[in-house]
C-alpha cells in the first residue's frame, strides 16, 4: 500500500520526465503487450490472503477469546467468525466496488462507485496494477486479499464491547460500520491510480504535438492522478493499515466501551483471562499471519516485500521484549500476557511502517510502542475507568497512532528508511524528497481524520443500534454468560 500520490501540481510537472523515460523504453513496441501476472506474485498474494484469514480465525478469535471469562469464550469466537463471514459477502456485493474496485464517480476522493458491485466484470483474466510499472496480479487475488482486511478490522472492535454486548447488536452494528465507515476510509487511503495508467497518460502528454492535444492529454493525466482517495492524495503513508485498520477499529472500540458501559462487577470482581494458552496461540498466529498482512501489502514478491517481512519480524520481537522489561521493572514480574501484548503492539505499530522503515528503525519503533501502550492499558484505562475489556483502544488505536506517526519519521533514508521512492518520485524540486514537516502533517491528517470520522460515526451507529435492537443483554443474562444466553452452548464440558 505504498502509493504516495503527491499534490496534483507536483504530479503534473513530474510526469513529463516519466513520459520521456517511458517513451524511450517503449520505443520498439508501440503497441505494448498487456502485462500478465507473474506466477510468483500470484502465489504470494494467495498465500498472503490465506495468512490474513488465519489472523482472524483462529488467530484473533483465540487471542480475544482466551482473555474473556469461560462463560463468554464462545461469544467472542462466534462474533469474530460471524463478522468474518458477513463481511466476506458484503465485500463481494458492494464493498470491493465502492472501496477499491471502481474508482470512478463524482465523489471519488471520498468513495468509489458501484460498477463492480456483485463483482461485475471480474474474471480470471482480469488484472490489477501493483506498485511497480508493468507488474500486475489477478484481480481475484487482489480482491480477496483486500477482503481479508475488511474482515479482520471490524472484528477487532469487539475487544471494546466484549462480555456484555448482545450478538444481534454486534452483527447489526458491524454491518453498518463496515459499510459506512470502513469502506470509505479504506478508499480514502488505498484507492490510488495504477502506475501504468499514470505512465501511459504521461507518455501521451509528452507525445502530444498540438496545444489541443496537449490540453486533452493533460486533462486525461489530471483525471488519472485525481482518481484517488483524498488521504492518498494528501501523501499520507500507510503501508498496510495503521490508520485504516488499527486506529479505525481501536477508536470505534473505545467509543463502544464508553457507550455500552462497563461489565457488571467491573472494578470489583476480578476478570482473569480464562485461558492464556489460547491467547498465546492467538498471538502467535496473529504474528505468523501478519506477514501476509504486511508483506502481502506490497502486492508482489520482491526485495521490498522481504523488507516488509523483516520489519514485521523485528518490530514484533523488539516490542515483545520491551513490554516484558517495562512490566518486569514496573510490576515486578514479566508476564506472558505482557510479552504477547507487546508482540501485538509491535505488529500494530509496524503495520503502517513495514514497507517504509529500515529494520533498525523498525526495532526502535518496537521498543517505543510497548511502553506507550503499556501506559495506556495499565494507567490511563484505570484512571478513566472505561472498560476496554480486551484493550483494543490501548493496543490497536494507540499502537496504530504511534506507528502512523513514526512512519513519517522512519521513512527518512537517513534513518535507514526507504525514502519517498515509489513511482511518484519523478517530480520537480522537492517531490520525492523526504521532508519531515510535510510528511508529519500528512500523517497527522490521516490520524486525525480517522479518529474523528470513525469516532463520531461509530457513536452514531451505536446509538442507532441501541434503539433498534438494544446493545446490552439483561443483567441476569450477562451474569450467566453470553455463551449460554446468546448461543445456547458452553465452551467446555470437561
Amino acid at each position: 500500500m505504498k502509493l504516495v500520490p503527491l499534490s496534483r501540481t507536483a504530479w503534473v510537472a513530474g510526469l513529463g520526465l516519466l513520459g520521456v523515460i517511458a517513451l524511450s523504453t517503449m520505443a520498439l513496441a508501440d503497441t505494448v503487450a498487456a502485462p500478465v501476472p507473474n506466477k510468483g506474485d500470484t502465489a504470494w498474494m494467495l498465500t498472503s490472503s490465506a495468512l490474513v484469514l488465519m489472523m482472524s480465525v483462529p488467530g484473533l478469535a483465540l487471542f480475544y477469546g482466551g482473555l474473556a471469562r469461560t462463560k463468554n469464550a464462545l461469544s467472542i469466537f462466534t462474533q469474530v467468525f460471524a463478522i468474518v463471514a458477513m463481511v466476506g459477502i458484503l465485500w463481494c456485493l458492494y464493498g470491493y466496488s465502492i472501496a477499491l474496485g471502481d474508482t470512478s464517480g463524482p465523489y471519488v476522493a471520498y468513495i468509489g462507485s458501484l460498477g463492480k458491485a456483485f463483482l461485475k466484470g471480474v474474471t480470471p483474466d482480469s488484472v490489477v496494477a501493483t506498485f511497480s510499472n508493468g507488474v500486475v496480479i489477478p484481480e481475484y487475488a487482489y480482491m480477496v486479499f483486500q477482503m481479508t482486511f475488511a474482515m479482520i478490522t471490524p472484528a477487532l472492535i469487539i475487544g471494546g464491547l466484549a462480555e456484555r454486548t448482545k450478538f444481534s447488536a454486534i452483527m447489526l452494528f458491524i454491518f453498518l460500520w463496515v459499510s459506512l465507515i470502513y469502506f470509505p476510509i479504506a478508499h480514502w487511503v488505498w484507492a490510488v491510480a495504477a502506475p501504468d495508467d499514470v505512465a501511459a497518460a504521461a507518455k501521451a502528454l509528452a507525445a502530444a504535438a498540438t496545444p489541443a492535444a496537449k490540453a486533452a492529454a493533460q486533462a486525461k493525466l489530471d483525471s488519472v492522478t485525481s482518481a484517488a482517495g483524498w488521504l492518498a492524495q494528501a501523501g499520507s503513508l500507510d503501508f498496510a493499515g495503521g490508520t485504516v485498520v488499527h486506529i479505525n477499529s481501536g477508536i470505534a472500540g473505545l467509543v463502544g466501551a464508553l457507550i455500552v458501559g462497563p461489565r457488571l462487577g467491573h472494578g470489583k470482581e476480578s476478570f482473569p483471562p480464562h485461558s492464556l494458552t489460547m491467547t498465546m496461540i492467538g498471538a502467535s498466529l496473529l504474528w505468523v499471519g501478519w506477514f501476509g498482512f504486511n508483506a502481502g501489502s506490497n502486492l508482489e514478491a520482491n526485495g521490498a516485500t522481504a523488507l516488509a517481512f523483516v520489519n514485521t519480524m523485528v518490530a514484533t520481537c523488539a516490542a515483545a521484549l520491551s513490554w516484558q522489561f517495562v512490566e518486569w521493572i514496573v510490576k515486578g514480574k514479566p508476564s506472558m500476557l505482557g510479552l504477547v501484548s507487546g508482540a501485538v503492539a509491535g505488529l500494530v505499530a509496524v503495520t503502517p511502517a513495514s514497507g517504509f522503515a529500515g529494520p533498525m528503525g523498525a526495532i526502535v519503533l518496537g521498543l517505543i510502542v510497548s511502553p506507550i501502550c503499556f501506559f495506556f492499558v495499565s494507567v490511563i484505562k484505570n484512571k478513566f475507568g472505561y472498560d476496554d475489556a480486551l484493550d483494543v483502544f490501548g493496543v490497536h488505536c494507540i499502537g496504530g497512532i504511534t506507528g502512523a506517526l513514526a512512519t513519517g519519521i522512519l521513512v527518512n533514508p537517513v534513518l535507514g528508511g526507504v525514502g519517498i521512492t515509489d513511482y511518484t518520485n519523478f517530480a520537480h524540486g522537492n517531490a520525492g524528497t523526504y521532508d519531515l514537516v510535510t510528511q508529519m502533517i500528512a500523517q497527522g491528517k490521516a490520524v486525525l481524520a480517522t479518529l474523528l470520522y470513525s469516532g463520531i460515526g461509530s457513536a452514531i451507529l451505536y446509538k442507532v443500534v441501541d434503539l433498534l435492537v438494544g446493545l446490552r443483554p439483561k443483567p441476569e443474562a450477562e451474569r450467566e454468560g453470553l455463551d449460554v444466553t446468546d448461543h445456547g452452548e458452553r465452551a467446555y464440558n470437561y
Partner: protein, 112 residues
Amino acid sequence: MKIVMAIIKPFKLDDVREALTAAGVHGMTVTEVKGYGRQKGHTEIYRGAEYAVQFLPKLKIEVALPSDLAPAAVEAIASAARTGEIGDGKVFVVPLDHAYRIRTGERDADAI
C-alpha cells in the same frame, strides 16, 4: 463445634468471604459444585441435539467454627449471598466432633 456449609451463587464469593471475615471467621474451604433445585436451568443445542441442563454452577463453602459463632456466620453468609432471586442457595449446619491443625497439632478450638 460446627461446620457451616453453604451453597451460594459463584459471583457472591467475595462478598461472603468479606462478611465472614467481619464476623470473625478467618478460614474456609471452597468447592466448585453443581446444584439442582427450583432454579430452572437452560437448554443447550449442539447441532441436532438439544440438552436440558438442570445443574447450575454453584460454590460450596465450608467453615469449621465454635458452636457459638455458628449463628453469626450463618447470618453473615445469608445476608451477603442474598440476591432475592431463586437459586440463592442454602446454608447447612452440621456437627463437628474434633478439629486438628496439621502444622502444629493444635486441637479443636485452637485449630480453627
